[in-house]
Amino acid sequence: MLKINNLYYKYEDGTNALNNINIDTYKGKVIGIIGANGSGKSTLFLNIMGILRPSKGEVIYNDTSLKYDKKYLREYRKQVNIVFQNPDQQLFYSNVFDDIAFSLRNLDVAEDIIKEKVFKALEKVGGLDLVNKPVHFLSYGQKKRIAIAGVLVMDSKVLLLDEPTSGLDPYMTKQMKEIINEISKDKTIIISSHDMDLIYDICDYIYILSKGNIIGQGEKELIFTEDKLIEEARLVKPWLVRIHQKFDLPLFKNEEEFNLYKGKGIL
C-alpha cells in the first residue's frame, strides 16, 4: 500500500541526501531499513511522512501520489504514522493519559472512546501501570513505550519506527521486540535500526541504505549473506548469520529456532 518511486531529496545546501529510492511495502509485513549513520534513514522517514518534500519522485499511498495540502496530509497521517527515536520530542503533556490521548482529542473523538483506546494502547506496550504517572518520573525505556502508545492509539495501517531500541537495556530490547511482533499482526511496519540482530529477527524484507542510495534489498536470509554489500554499507552481520557461515549450522530464522536445534553442528 505504501510505495516510494524514484525518490530524490536534496538538502538546502544542495547535497544529495537521497538518490533514486524505490521501496515497496508489499514485499513484507515488517520492512527493515538499515544503513550507517548519515546514510539517509531519518531523511527518508521524514519524506515518507510528508514533512519533507522530495525534489524528484513520489511517495505513493493506496495508489495515490502524496499531496501536500493540509487536508490530505491530515487524512494520510491517520493511516501512516511514525514513532521517533527520541521520546522527549514526542511527549507534550506531563500526564501520561493526556499525552497519549492528544492525537485523538485533535480528532474530536468522544472522551469515552478515547479512554478505551488509550488503555488498549497502554496494554499493548505493557504500560497500564504508568497511566497516572507524570511523564517526568518515567525512565527512558518507559518514555519510549509511552511514545509508541501515543501513536498506536491512532490505529494507523502503516507504522514507521525510528530506532525503537536505541538506548534500551537487553531486557527492554526483548520487550520492545515482543511489542513490535504484536503490533505487526495488524499493521505494516517499517523499522530502522542499528541492531542487526533485531532487524534479522523481526523483519521479512530489508533495504540497505548507503550514502543516500539503496545498494541492496531482499529477504532477510538472502541479504545478510551478501558479504560485500554488508561491508560497503558499513554494517555487520547478525550473529545467527555469522554462526551459520562459520560453523556448519543451518541458517535459523530467529533465536527460538536456534534454541530448539538439537542437531550436530560444531562438535
Partner: protein
Amino acid sequence: MLLIDKYAYTNKIRCYSPQAKILLACGTIIISRIINNYYFDLLIIILMSVLIVGIAKIPCKAYFKMLLIPLSFLLVSIVAIVISVNDVNYIYCFKLINSYIGITYESFNTGAKLFTTVLSSLTSVYFLILTTPIIDIIKVLKKLKVPSLFIELMVLIYRSIFIFIEEANNIHMAQTMKFGYENKRNSLKSISLLIRNLFLRIFIKHNEMNISLECKLYDGEFKLGD
C-alpha cells in the same frame, strides 16, 4: 530538584479532590486575614502541619526544612519593619551616636502579627502544593474558565520545565567534570555557556517537537479533555 513536585505525586492524599484542597488552602488564607487573630493563625499552623505530616505523610524532617528557607527571609524582613529610628515610646532601644534605634510596642506587635500571618499562609500553601499535583491544579483552573491560551501555556511550560532541568543538570555535571566551577571567573564563564546552551535548546527542541506535532495532527490547540 523539585522536591515539592515529587511529594505532590507520592503523598497519601494525592487522590483526594483537588477542588477541596484548593478551597481549604485558599479559604484559610483569606479567612485568617479577615479574622486577623493570633490564635486563629496558630490554629491554622497546627492544623496544616498535622494534615501535611500526619495525614499526607510527608516526612517531618523534609517539611521543617522546607519551612526554614522562607522563614529566614521572613525574620530578616521583620527586622527591617520592626526597627525604627528616633521614635518615641521605645520598649527597647540603644543609642548609636546621636540617634536612638529601637523597637516600639506598636512595631513589635506589627512584627509579631506579620510573623504568625505569614506562617499560617505559608503552611496553608504548603498543604496545597505538597498534596496536589500541578496538573490537577491546572484542570481546576480550566474549570474556573481561565482563558484556554493560559491553560495551554501552563501545560506546555510545566512539561518544558522538566526538559530543561534535565538538560541543565547534564550540562552542569559535564562542566564540573571539566573543572568549570573551580573559581569565580570560570564559574561565570561556565554558567554563561550553560545558559546559552539552554537557550539554543529552545530552538532545537521547537523544531523537533513541531515535527512530532504535525504527525500527531496538531490543529492549534492543546486540549485537556474533561
